[in-house]
Subunit: 188 residues, 2 copies
DNA sequence: GTCTATAAGGAGATAGAC
DNA sequence: GTCTATCTCCTTATAGAC
């Protein structure tokens, strides 16, 4: 017994794709309702405004990100392997998305920090990514040699990956993400 | 004899600020002419379209960036000092701009790679930044010990800085750019 | 809950007077 | 070269029928 995807979900899926691939400001309500094949009245019954749709989009992406990441790393136990797989995860995401970048960086670039709700979601997402890296590096420093202060190194690795994802958005390839992998290989 | 800034220049300055601080898609022609205090007819005598204004904006920023950078590094001769000053330069730029990020990364995030002219300007700017870092590292590897393949290290430093500038846009501070400086201090 | 019709305003761009 | 007036289209959002 297959359950039909709800209208509300279909609206969110359509809007999410458009926001991500062509930008929030470049996406009109009319295009969303046309591609979701619904009437405008239906949209505003489910979502108060275009901004409400944006918040739902970002919240969903936040949940999807860490669920998928944990799933992807699931088997790995060695911290170095975890680091490499974490970068692999980002490579896979970008290759699946035609190198369209990070949802949160893009929204921040479009809207700045003015919308408090959006900014909080972006800040929170990035803080969680950084904390995730810090956890992995904690395992590394207790099991092996201590190269650098763990906190600084976690920060630096985070920034490298951020830069490499942005570079993927600009160049359309994942070469720089692969450079990050090569650097991690040499570092530990 | 002070020369008055031309109307054309004033249009470009106004548009550039608006594009940078509130985004390209968030900036309307009406706002540009209002803030530049000119009539719409005048704008279209000087620029064919809003896109034409965008190209001029990016070209000007490209020139300003490397002119200012060379000026800032002018005195430095030691390659390690050059690296640190290069990051200092980015810190200063972000602090002067209330951490509003990189002109080119932001435009790429808003418009993607669809507009060939914009994408070429962004790609070219980033390639020049990377090449600049490579040059400095070449001096380092001939004068001192060779830690890593120069090309990979230049890449990695570039990505770190890119990530730290994006982080400044998100957090509103330059802490991560300062982490990059700390990392460079330890690296060489 | 989904629909159509429409409001109210802003977008980018052009014509033509001065 | 600068101006005003205007065109056409699209924007987000609401009202009210079914």
């Amino acid at each position: 017994m297959e359950k039909k995807i709800s209208t509300k979900q279909r609206i969110l899926d359509t809007a999410s794709n458009l926001f991500y691939y062509q930008g929030f400001n470049n996406t009109g309500i009319n295009q969303i309702i046309a591609e979701a094949d619904i009437a405008i009245g239906s949209l505003y019954k489910h979502y108060r405004s275009k901004n409400d749709l944006l918040y739902s989009y970002l919240q969903t992406e936040e949940e999807k990100f860490f669920t998928s990441l944990n799933e992807y790393l699931g088997k790995a136990s060695d911290p170095k392997e975890k680091l490499l797989k974490l970068v692999d995860f980002r490579i896979r995401l970008q290759e699946e998305a035609q190198c369209s970048g990070c949802h949160f960086i893009k929204i921040n670039a479009e809207l700045g920090r003015k919308d408090e709700c959006v900014n909080e979601l972006v800040l929170n997402h990035k803080a969680k990514q950084k904390a995730y890296l810090h956890e992995i590096l904690d395992e590394l420093s207790t099991s092996g040699s201590q190269h650098l202060e763990t906190s600084l190194l976690a920060n630096i690795l985070f920034l490298m990956i951020e830069g490499a994802v942005v570079s993927a958005t600009i160049t359309g390839n994942t070469n720089d993400l692969k450079s990050v992998k090569a650097y991690i290989q040499q570092l530990f």
